[in-house]
């Protein structure tokens, strides 16, 4: 009974709205964070310019992620896609230890 009750609650429009909203906020920020780190390393520019350009773009990434969070067909997939992308970006940015801090 209880399990059924929870399943019904999780499938309710309110739960879906809250999930999408939190994904837009939290997972969206994570993606923006990952993208900024990635571009701060891989843009073909001197270090201060890489970092500034990447940082200034982060809000566009965040808003894009927010739009996707609401546009995607399945609410749970939003989390998977955004968090995975953010993780890949972060790994790619942090792994080359010396290269990421090149001048």
């Amino acid at each position: 009974m209880a399990a059924q009750h929870w399943r019904r609650l999780a499938a309710s429009p309110l739960a879906e709205l809250i999930s999408r909203g939190l994904a837009a906020l939290v997972a969206g920020y994570l993606l923006a964070f990952g993208a900024t780190a990635f571009l701060s390393v891989y843009l073909p520019l001197p270090r201060p310019d890489r970092v500034v350009v990447a940082s200034l773009l982060c809000f566009a990434v965040w808003v894009g992620a927010a739009v996707y969070s609401f546009a995607a067909r399945r609410p749970l997939r939003v989390w998977v896609v955004l968090v995975t992308l953010a993780g890949v970006f972060c790994l790619a940015a942090w792994l080359p230890t010396d290269w990421r801090m090149r001048p």
Binding site: T36, A37, P48, V53, M101
Partner: protein, 509 residues
């Protein structure tokens, strides 16, 4: 779900939830376009005096040494300009980080009576007077605004055609939606740019990823390289005899071949490592010039001239686009009008939300209604009361600025409480508050006339247009608010006697 439908969800909730906070940010931002004019207006001691501007930077620095005994981390001085005809001083105490602010007469160099000044609205705009936390809250509201604007454009199928559609005589919800679209579309490019450049200003705090990955989380190295600035750590040795500040200012002006000096910043003045940095001012450009000169405070030796990387100059250009300190009063007027359009977009948007749900008696209806009244009316009313307090509190009273702040806070609280306890219909409530605003706006030029002999319209009209315009704006707003109150009546006829009673009882709140 279709894209347009899903974007409606984002727009509805992403717009409603931060709308009251965004109203505070946009309304105070609109006022902050004229912060320097308001600052000047709020200092009647400056009005009517004339003479050679003979005070010097050293005189201001000496006042600080005589009046503030705590050791200082840094202090900064700004010479008079056309829009700010007074010396400005700010300082930060060592250890506690406590900050102070004072303003000086350009002729005598005497400290002026304290007031919150136009700076109050500027600070409320970017951090709600809540320091770091406030800065993050405002930033988050800015991102919500971006998301609401983008989703609003996607929803809007006929963005061009609807722009020319206004049906004020249509059913309530339809007319409010038209108004929301009108203000939203007219201001769209402005709102997008201002929201984006607004969140970009504190990007280094909001998004530390770049500094973390490329500078290994070393903030000093990050700021040093990105800004091309200069910093010298404390040596923990007592300071020598400083070179007079004015001598350094003259040296800087010769270096730039320009006399327009901006902030003069003195870092840890009591330590042997003290550095004086002098910034150049150039209001003809969108981004302020980044060629700050840093001098040794004791030898006067030029230590460094700022060399900024191109991307940082791009960032400074975005900051300048937001701050509207370029291009003169026409630009600020445009920013002001479009800022008001932003406020109206929020008011109309929230009204659409309410009207859509009024028939269904959705839960939360009363909360949204109460918040609308408390914020959309409370903030303007409190701002007007602040200006009244500025004129009514005697100049020689101690803690004058705090009393001004309390008048603002208590007024806002009073409007909020009155909203919560009043059983009146929202429409009648709105009418009463429109009346209060009209009375406060129309009364201010009169109070000005009675309290400040050199500041009122009869004197300033013609001689000091920047002051007269504040009074004229208040008069025009007062008339418009009174007209709005007269026209904004409930559909069902209300006995005339009760209406006046409503208006009066609200005034005494």
């Amino acid at each position: 779900m279709k894209l347009r439908q899903s974007m409606t969800t984002l727009h509805t909730w992403g717009g409603l939830l931060p709308s009251w906070l965004l109203f505070v940010v946009i309304f105070t931002g609109t006022l902050a376009c004229f912060d320097k004019e308001l600052e000047h207006w709020m200092r009647p001691a400056l009005h009517g005096s004339s003479g050679p501007a003979s005070a010097s930077a050293q005189q201001i620095s000496d006042w600080l040494a005589d009046n503030v005994s705590a050791p200082l981390h840094a202090y900064w001085i700004h010479p008079p300009t056309e829009r700010t005809p007074f010396w400005q001083l700010g300082w930060e105490e060592d250890g506690s980080g406590q900050r102070g602010r004072a303003v000086f007469d350009p002729v005598t160099g005497a400290a002026l009576p304290e007031t919150l000044g136009g700076d109050f609205f500027f600070t409320l705009h970017y951090n709600l007077h809540a320091g770091q936390i406030g800065m993050y809250i405002v930033g988050l509201a800015g991102v919500f605004m971006l998301a609401a604007l983008v989703s609003g454009v996607i929803i809007h199928r006929r963005i061009f055609k609807d722009f020319f559609t206004l049906r004020p005589r249509a059913q309530g919800q339809r007319a409010w939606l038209d108004a929301h679209n009108l203000f939203g579309v007219v201001g769209l490019p402005f709102h997008l740019v201002l929201a984006y450049t607004g969140v970009a200003i504190f990007v280094a705090a909001y998004m530390p990823a770049g500094g973390m990955v490329a500078y290994n989380s070393d903030p000093l190295a990050f700021y040093h390289e990105v800004q091309g600035g200069y910093h010298r750590n404390e040596l923990d040795r007592p300071a020598g005899t400083p070179v007079p500040l004015d001598q350094l200012v003259t040296a800087a002006q010769q270096q730039w071949q320009s006399t327009d000096t901006g902030w003069i910043i003195v870092e840890h003045p009591a330590d042997a490592s003290s550095v004086v940095s002098i910034r150049r001012r150039d209001p003809s450009r969108i981004g302020s010039p980044q060629d700050t000169l840093s001098y040794d405070a004791f030898t006067g030796e030029l230590l460094h001239q700022q060399q900024t990387p191109p991307a940082y100059r791009g960032y400074i250009w975005m900051v300048g686009l937001h701050m509207a300190q370029f291009g003169g009063s026409l630009i600020r007027l445009l920013y002001g009008v479009l800022g008001l359009a932003g406020c109206m977009m929020l008011v109309a948007g929230n009204t659409v939300w309410l009207r859509k749900r009024a028939a269904r008696q959705t839960p939360g209806l009363h909360l949204v209604q109460a918040l609308n009244t408390a914020v959309f009316f409370g903030l303007p009313v409190a701002s007007l009361v602040l200006l009244w307090a500025n004129r009514l509190i005697p100049a020689e009273l101690e803690h004058r600025a705090s009393i001004e702040a309390w008048s603002f806070v208590l007024t806002w609280l009073a409007v909020t409480l009155a909203t919560l306890v009043s059983s009146r219909q929202p429409l009648a409530r709105a009418r009463a508050l429109l009346g209060v605003m009209a009375a406060l706006a129309l009364g201010l030029p009169l109070v000005n006339f009675l309290t400040a002999p050199h500041s009122h319209l009869l004197v300033t009209f013609g001689t000091a247009p920047e002051l007269a315009l504040v009074d004229l704006t208040l008069l025009i707003s007062g008339v418009l608010l009174a007209v709005a109150m007269a026209r904004y009546r409930p559909r069902q006829p209300v006995p005339a006697a009760r209406k006046t009673e409503c208006g009066e009882s609200e005034v005494t709140v």
